[in-house]
């Protein structure tokens, strides 16, 4: 039995309690989503709601946080299982379902922050539009322009009120070439890192970068 206090030692005194109370939605459990979820779980977010309809395939392993043994499993269940392997105290709500305008409220209505981690641009557009219509006061963090390798300096966070887009806003997928692990991971972790910061802004009294 893992001791809760021991597990959550050396945490930020102000930010961590805020993260523990937070609920973050992750739409998509692929390249972006599997990394966003893992990092947020390690950082100490209290609850993650993750939705994806897909199963793990061999070609996913070039960038997604799954194993050979998990091929054929639902991504949301494989991801929940992987996270349970290093954090026994987080609440994970996996939904094996395609996100549609009709189920966004039921799936993610209780989230403090939404993270768009889809592959397809039409799904990205659908979620971002619907979220901004339904929850104009709640942040949504998307990704656009993640393909290729290198070009670290081209990646940034583009802010439009409560909508944040991480990426270079330009790089298109080339036919037959997946996004590459390094760049996907950078962008996913920028999404996750931004979510932590939005929950516990640095300008709060007594909170700093330490």
């Amino acid at each position: 039995m893992i001791d809760r206090e021991a597990y959550f030692s050396k945490r930020h005194p102000i930010a961590f309690p805020i993260w523990q109370r937070a609920v973050i939605g992750i739409a998509g459990a692929g390249g972006l989503g599997s990394i966003v979820a893992s990092s947020l779980a390690r950082a100490g977010i209290g609850k993650l709601i993750i939705a994806d309809f897909d199963t793990v395939s061999l070609e996913n392993l070039n960038r997604q946080q799954f194993t050979l043994q998990q091929i054929g499993e639902a991504k949301v269940h494989a991801l929940a299982s992987n996270i349970a392997g290093f954090n026994p105290f987080i609440a994970i709500e996996p939904h094996l379902v395609k996100v549609t305008p009709a189920n966004i409220d039921a799936l993610f209505g209780g989230c403090d922050i939404m993270i768009e981690a889809f592959d397809d641009a039409d799904q990205k557009e659908m979620l971002i539009h619907k979220w901004m219509e339904n929850y104009p006061a709640k942040p949504i963090i998307g990704a656009s322009g993640i393909s290729g390798y290198g070009n670290n300096e081209s990646i940034s966070i583009h802010r439009y009120d409560k909508l944040y887009i991480v990426g270079d806003l330009q790089s298109k997928l080339e036919d037959g070439i997946s996004p590459i692990a390094t760049r996907v991971a950078i962008i996913a972790n920028m999404q996750a890192n931004l979510a932590l910061e939005l929950l516990a802004p640095h300008n709060q009294e007594g909170n700093d970068n330490g």
Binding site: A117, A121, E125, M132, S144, L169, S171, V184
Partner: protein
């Protein structure tokens, strides 16, 4: 002094403005080809079905965000 011609801004680029312009015209003027977009006019989200009917006011600031596949 010459008066500035009527204009509006798309993603930081100044474009000539005229009465009757709608969001779709701005996309055409910028030769944007991406289909999946988030568009804001003066900070307000334009719904997907409203690109042909949403007018662009004089001096408007239009933000067009391309959503590119990959994840």
């Amino acid at each position: 002094m010459i008066m500035d011609r009527p204009s509006f801004i798309v993603n930081g680029h100044k474009l000539p403005w005229q009465e009757g312009l709608v969001v779709r015209d701005a996309l055409t003027m910028m030769t944007y080809t991406f289909k999946m977009l988030v568009i804001k006019v003066n900070g307000k989200l334009v719904k997907k079905g409203d690109y042909d009917s949403t007018p662009i006011p004089l001096n408007a600031e239009v933000e067009v965000i391309h959503l590119i596949s990959g994840g």
